[in-house]
Amino acid sequence: MGKVKKKVKTIKIDLDKCNGCRACEVICSAFHANPKYSSNNPARARIRLIREPIRDVYLPVYAGEYAKAECAGRDKYVIDGKEYRECDFCRASCPSRDVFKEPDSGLPLKCDMCEDDPPQEKPLCVQWCLNDALIYEEREEEVEEEVKMEDVEIGLESMVDKYGLQKVMDTVARMSKKD
């Protein structure tokens, strides 16, 4: 695959401006509900706010790629006198922790920048952040062409990792017979 020019959607996160209200989590979970906005549950959000008022730690992090294994990241960062775990900054839904997973199924969650039809002007978390801690920015970048996986595929892949391909195939076969 070659390189292509691509409009990259990014979010600039200003920790100093975060007031810790979690509106980003609220509206993210509502937007991704099915039907849209029909339910609300920050535990399903694809953004999480690490919020520890006593230490003045306010860190919004977006859900990224699913990782099948945990990594060796156990380091710590000290920024402006405040300690952060390396893990805090990580976007992955991985086996070592309970974040960026659907609370019922455990399936991985990933930020999709609120892809919508018609498209949203900005991701909803940005729209609902009235304190400008989250700012939407578009950049043009040259990136490797990639084949994007669909949600179902991502989900299936994590099931395969967990239970093995054969078991997932057997289950799908059994389920399809019921219909």
Partner: protein
């Protein structure tokens, strides 16, 4: 499926250690909506009026508002109710923060605690798993400290925790319940929690809250956010700074304290210092505040930043909001703001109300000066103003010596002390300490709000309508031009006609009937907020708020699927308002109790005041003693309440 609410309460008997998840009656949601309304209903139904506030039979309820857990901005209030040990009436106190939405997501609309635990315990609610856990290791720990310790112990950084400090454990009548930057601090609710042996409630919830008409609800939320943005960019002109914006008074943001220090009273609500504020004080206080303030922070799903993280060198970090940076300093006649932040840290860990507690201490030192309390009562007390306050605060929360007497608040302490001490407990309504504010000319609207408010705190009753007339017609016209929140156009005319002096000024204008109308509107918005769990700072409290009587019914309808219009919502308000009044008249509340402190205004008008009360009661459908009539209760669908009041001889011949 239930919408907006979970449809379940968590019922816990602390004496027996039993835990039940109980389905609620959807019909009650239609009648009372939720929050304060349904809390009041449970209190009315379950507790006979003769019950002592510390009886195990009293349910201590943590109610969530109907809209908590939905995306409605600022819907995050927990409504805590019991009987107040101080006023002996229904005590209700609210807090924002993060607890109510978390409780909803755990699957419960309310936690109802009855009985008493033999040992100090805390409650851990994690979705369907609910445990009563030993808290003996947390005994005496600070209210903020406890929240952190519990999160660590549970290894649940996302758990939301509400806790009491030493004051609550020792049943101090000004004990608060603290939760993050928020606290439910008025009317002694923390003392009831301590009496039940509950140190804290910790909650983690990961379930969905469903909405009946999602797209419509989302649009309503967006409109509210847009309006907040507009209001933040367009402060209301021609009113003083703290009244210009939304939210709770922005005391953490602003450093200019000219208004509070020169208009509020110092000491035991007696001394006004009109020449206190100057450039030097301003510079010094600004540097103190900016040094200790780490960040301006919010409650759940609210863009306003009413609170702050406060880190005073050498002390553990805590959070603060509103005016408590000054309540201790002004009561103690200390002119250093640093003291305000330092003593508030200790008071927050102890878990006490920052309004009543400083007044109790100022009251005590006044009694000492008057010779009513003696040196023996203050043995070991330092002589400097700062030291004195720390010393007495420590005694009060431990109920040691004179602190034990004072821990019951100024009213009960004065009764116990005698020797004329009653005259020094001069700033109370219904036995509860009020803001330290003393004014000149009676304001008829405020007279009614002070007298009749069931929450007994002016800040929880006032709002919406300007506190004073505008000086010029241009200013008045400008104010009413985009005043979309009025329930009726007639309110605009009142503002246009209201003059600072002359015939159409206080106390005779707004007229009696206008005053009643204004009060009813302001009360209505507070009752709706407390039922839906929306913060008063986005609704009933500030001028020109984003939530109002015209969009609230649509929020309720879209969230729940219940058909609701302005008339319907007004009916729910009348029902909840009247039910709380019924609870209190059953506890003995009568007209004679409904009065502001005698010295609140210099100029009083007994005849006018009497007319105001008569008109207010009549408007509400209550008799001249403030008791709801049988007919009124019938119209509101509360024949059972009428029957009960009749059986007790409180309602006679339908008239009371």
């Amino acid at each position: 499926m239930r919408h907006a609410e979970t449809g379940f309460n968590l019922e816990i008997d602390l004496t027996r250690g039993s835990i039940e998840r109980v389905a609620t009656d959807p019909r009650l949601t239609e009648l009372h909506l939720g929050g304060l309304g349904t809390n009041a209903k449970v209190l009315w139904d379950r507790v006979p009026p003769e019950t002592d506030p510390f009886s195990p039979d009293i349910p201590l309820m943590f109610g969530t508002g109907l809209l908590c857990g939905t995306p409605a901005p600022g819907a995050n209030r927990t409504i805590i109710t019991a009987y107040s040990p101080q006023t002996l009436l229904m005590g209700y106190s609210l807090m924002g923060g993060f607890l109510a939405p978390e409780l909803k997501h755990a699957g419960y609309d309310k936690v109802i605690l009855r009985g008493k635990s033999p040992n100090l315990v805390y409650l851990w609610i994690h979705n369907d798993k609910v445990e009563i856990r030993d808290a003996s290791h947390l005994k005496g720990k600070g209210a903020v400290e406890t929240q952190e310790l519990i999160r660590q112990e549970l290894k649940e950084p996302n758990a939301q925790v509400a806790a009491i400090g030493l004051a609550g454990e020792n049943r101090v009548y000004t004990a608060s319940i603290e939760q993050g930057r928020s606290s439910a601090s008025r009317l002694g609710i923390g003392a009831v929690m301590g009496d039940k042996g509950i140190k804290a409630i910790a909650v983690r919830g990961t379930k969905d809250i469903n909405l009946a008409r999602p797209a419509e609800f989302y649009e309503l939320c967006n409109d509210v956010l847009k309006y907040i943005k507009f209001r933040n960019e367009n402060p209301v002109p021609n009113v003083m700074t703290i009244l210009q914006g939304l939210g709770s008074p922005q005391e953490m943001l602003h450093v200019d304290e000219e208004w509070h220090t020169q208009n509020f009273m110092w000491g035991n609500s007696r001394v006004r210092r009109k020449d206190f504020w100057n450039k030097e004080v301003e510079e010094k206080w600004k540097s103190v505040q900016l040094n200790v303030r780490k960040r301006l922070i919010s409650c759940y799903n609210c863009p306003m930043k009413c609170g702050a993280i406060i880190s005073v060198p050498g002390l553990s970090t805590y959070m603060m909001k509103c005016f408590s940076k000054l309540t201790y300093a002004m009561a103690a006649f200390v002119e250093d703001l640093d003291f305000g932040f330092r003593i508030a840290q200790r008071a927050t860990e102890y878990g006490v109300d920052g309004f009543s507690t400083p007044q109790i201490m100022a009251f005590a030192f006044e009694l000492k000066e008057a010779g009513i309390l003696t040196d023996a009562d203050f043995e070991g007390c330092p002589s400097d103003n700062e030291g004195k306050f720390y010393w007495l605060l420590d005694r009060i929360v431990r109920r040691e010596g004179i602190g034990d007497v004072l821990a019951d608040g100024t009213y009960w302490a004065a009764q116990k002390i005698g020797k004329g001490a009653e005259a020094y407990a001069h700033n109370n309504i219904k036995k509860h300490e009020q803001l330290p504010l003393k004014l000149g000319m009676l304001n008829p609207v405020y007279f009614l709000m002070y007298s009749t408010g069931e929450k007994i705190n002016i800040t929880q009753i006032e709002g919406q309508f300007p506190q004073a007339p505008f000086a010029t017609m241009e200013e008045r016209e400008e104010f009413v031009r985009d005043w979309i929140q009025v329930p009726d156009e007639k309110f605009k005319q009142i503002v246009l006609d209201w003059e600072p002096r002359g015939e159409r000024s206080n106390p005779n204008y707004p007229t009696v009937d206008m005053s009643v109308d204004i009060v009813d509107w302001q009360e209505k918005m507070h009752y709706i907020d407390d039922t839906l769990g929306v913060c008063a700072g986005l609704s009933s409290f500030p001028l020109k708020p984003p939530y109002h009587i015209h969009n609230y019914p649509r929020f309720v309808s879209a969230a729940t699927g219940i058909d609701m219009d302005e008339a319907g919502l007004t009916q729910v308000y009348n029902r909840n308002r009247t039910l709380i009044r019924a609870i209190n008249v059953r506890r003995g509340l009568r007209r004679a109790d409904e009065k502001p402190p005698e010295d609140h205004w210099k100029k009083r008008f007994p005849e006018l005041e009497s007319k105001l009360l008569d008109a207010y009661y009549k408007f509400k459908g209550w008799n001249s003693e403030g008791i709801p009539t049988k007919e009124t209760l019938h119209e509101l669908g509360m024949d059972d309440v009428a029957k009960d009041l009749e059986q007790r001889g409180i309602i006679k011949d339908g008239q009371g």
